[in-house]
Symmetry: D2
Subunit: 270 residues, 4 copies
């Protein structure tokens, strides 16, 4: 049976996602802010601990991606290569190292959901939009001083977040919250009624290759909205740190296990 | 940390899927046919074997569902409870017992993708449509003699399957291919480059409760179409067995492990 | 050139909508309430006047439709026959007669947008959901005492309205606001910069044939939400009149002109 | 009553489209080819005539747009400003002048459908995708020699067209078929059963302002697919003329009437 992911078959052609490495070209719009550190700590299960400094820092990042596998065939059938996502990153510590960690994420394609499942990103479907730069200004900003970019996120027919970013100047990086290797849980709930997880591990992962253009910084307004099925608004915006825009190229080619997790029965919600 | 599925949090409110049991009310349109048994066998990894009789039998089933958890709150926000799916079922044998097995499936909501991941259904997103019965005939068939129902499936902007079912008479069941407990693989690919699967098991699962209305049988036409990312058309329609329509109510409440699978490196496709 | 609507061609096969009559089978969930009559009057351009009694009455109606043309071929390709809509109806008077009038409407298919353009319904795209009844109660209400139905509307990634209807008893009708022939404007803005409308008429239209099941009445909760591109919330819910559920079959086969409108330059917004 | 388009209201805020002028920034991928001139002539109702030279020339154009009104507010809520379209252009003659004419077009937003209705573009909804250029090559081509771009079109869950364009060199223009002012019909079918059109005119329209980047030419492969509700494949690809890519900025600010059309009963299809 071949196929990196399901459905596996004799040829592997139907696999929802191809073998890594996976390649990405895209634009990142980042809003960094501070929330109550206790709200961040709630999202850090053991063995993770809060980051030692600025433990309430949060990055809400929009990304407009084109992606493909080594064969690049997806690029010629772009319904299979383009997707957008919005994701929330916090920082945490494990064995004395600081990691970034994605706690919420929404994407608009199924292959992106499956890649997230593999990488430990907790992906749901959402409707994600961000203003695009373009060389002609009739209906587009430029990546430069005064360029204004909007970004929105919705899921299940409710708007969850909105940002407006006005660029001011070149800066050294597009933020610090998402700048570490990721520390993610990969968990598979047990199939029996009331069972503990069948599998659990803490993994680390990051870009195998990374190219970044000039990062731009600016002023960002950010609004979060309540939803009965989301907890994003619980990470209330107490203080804006900054807003950033950057174009990047990335290769992802696997991660490594940081810790195997004890299989224990989760504290069921119901 | 609470939450049956990701993202887990202090409250569990954001979990993409709630704790089982899960409840379903819906309509099933089934087309059963025979294909080359070798094409079915290709989709049965060890320790599964072909079913001893009629090993080339296939069921292509459309389902128009409303579903909810025990709290039934999803029913009042129906964007979170309604979904449609089309799935392909074959039969197989394990330790002398015959099982049904879903080899391909497409759904149109993310919570359904996640439930499938838990249950071992290899779900992708698709666009799924089936004619609805209605008490007024201006633009609807009845579930009765002469009622005509259409059903279509598309994914990634390509039509994959079409069926037209004309009901003839009450029958004892809506087919035999999907009538056994399911035998599904639950597999989690390893995070390291080129690694074997981190986790693999063969599980069995079926309805904890089932209610079915009168099954109707009839004549069905079925067409499958090629796609570069799908292998459905490889299960060529050699001989139609029959077409069926049935309304059902189902409760699902977990399964059980049939076998833990050796963690072995999959035969990568690339 | 053939074709009821664009694009017209030698065969007419590509027309976005077929020749009337058009046939509909579906379920209607209605919430009737009173708002400030001045807000209704604002939506009644001359020569329309407010209805003489209860001029602030509003109906917000969700409809889950299957529809087709005389050839019924759309029913076998249900992506072309099923759609959902939510619409807002008020009443008005013209030459001493009372009419119903749809002031806002959202649908989820293009053929429905085009039919609305023909009939004078001001259709936009939206995401529309309403709970479905089903014979099996695992995840569905029945149309009967205690049956609870939810309904939601969103457009441009913002939720605009939500209703929850709990059925109590059979009633004589599913409301009075949408019970008259419709009085709609059909207007085509002029193509030249700043021009008056090229065409304008007031038309009346209703069902050529109608069948209705037992209407059920009950208690309804209704919430409207703000959006920068919608004015639905301006029709504030001051007093609930009632909630209703009814299954219907309808044929539509054209309307008639009530008045040709003077071509005058609209009072541009910009 | 204010509002350029429906629904008109006291403020005009709910109008599906704002007052012109409308502003556009986007990328155009064009495939030009020759088909049987008789198939083009079929789509030219009187008083239009075939173009005097190369009357079988066709352009199939994909466009990835960002658009806004004078206030530019849509750019900050990009679900309201971004859309994609694929459209088919032929040429025709009227009173000795050559015009371009859009005979089929699919878009993916409702505001684009409404603008098309105003401008005489026969817009349907479709799923439209085209590869995007990006400064980082991990998963994107550049606009330059060897850049490869794919483009696809689907409607009603069927793929209708696919193109693959490989850029070779700078060229003077991105084609000649769409290079003239547009000659479009604006037609409003009559509301009474079997009536002739209520309104009909032939209009001309083009860009009020236009900026174009360097046009690139190359080799293009184009495939058209059958659909029961489309006639695109009837414009069979007999000979490829060329493929082009160009980034543009456009302002549209109205057109002018070329001829009022006799109101005559269309030759109904049914």
């Amino acid at each position: 049976m071949r196929g990196f992911f399901y459905p596996r078959s004799a040829s592997g052609d139907a696999s929802l996602i191809p073998d890594p490495p996976w390649y990405y070209s895209g634009d990142l719009l980042t809003a960094e802010y501070r929330t109550d550190p206790a709200r961040v700590a709630e999202l850090l299960p053991p063995p993770l601990e809060p980051a030692p400094d600025d433990p309430g820092a949060v990055a809400l990042i929009w990304a407009d991606w084109q992606s493909c596998s080594s064969g690049r065939t997806e690029l010629l059938d772009p319904v299979r290569s383009q997707y957008k996502e919005a994701f929330v990153v916090v920082r945490c510590a494990f064995r004395g190292e600081v990691y970034s960690r994605c706690v919420y994420i929404w994407v608009d394609k199924d292959f992106a959901v499956a890649r997230g499942l593999h990488q430990g990103y907790p992906k749901k479907l959402g409707s994600v939009w961000q203003t695009r730069p373009h060389p002609f200004a009739q209906a587009a900003p430029s990546i430069g001083p005064g360029g204004v970019f909007g970004a929105t996120l919705a899921a299940a027919d409710r708007r969850l977040a909105e940002a407006v970013l006005t660029l001011r100047e070149p800066v050294e990086s597009n933020g610090f919250v998402n700048a570490h290797p990721m520390a993610h849980h990969r968990v598979y709930p047990g199939i029996e009624r009331g069972a503990s997880d069948s599998y659990g591990e803490l993994i680390s992962s990051g870009a195998a290759e990374f190219q970044g253009g000039q990062a731009w910084g600016g002023d960002v307004e950010l609004r979060l909205f309540e939803s009965p099925t989301e907890e994003l608004a619980r990470l209330r915006v107490d203080e804006i740190i900054g807003g950033y825009y950057r174009q990047v190229g990335v290769v992802w080619d696997g991660g490594r296990t940081l810790a195997r997790l004890e299989a224990e029965r989760p504290d069921y919600h119901g």
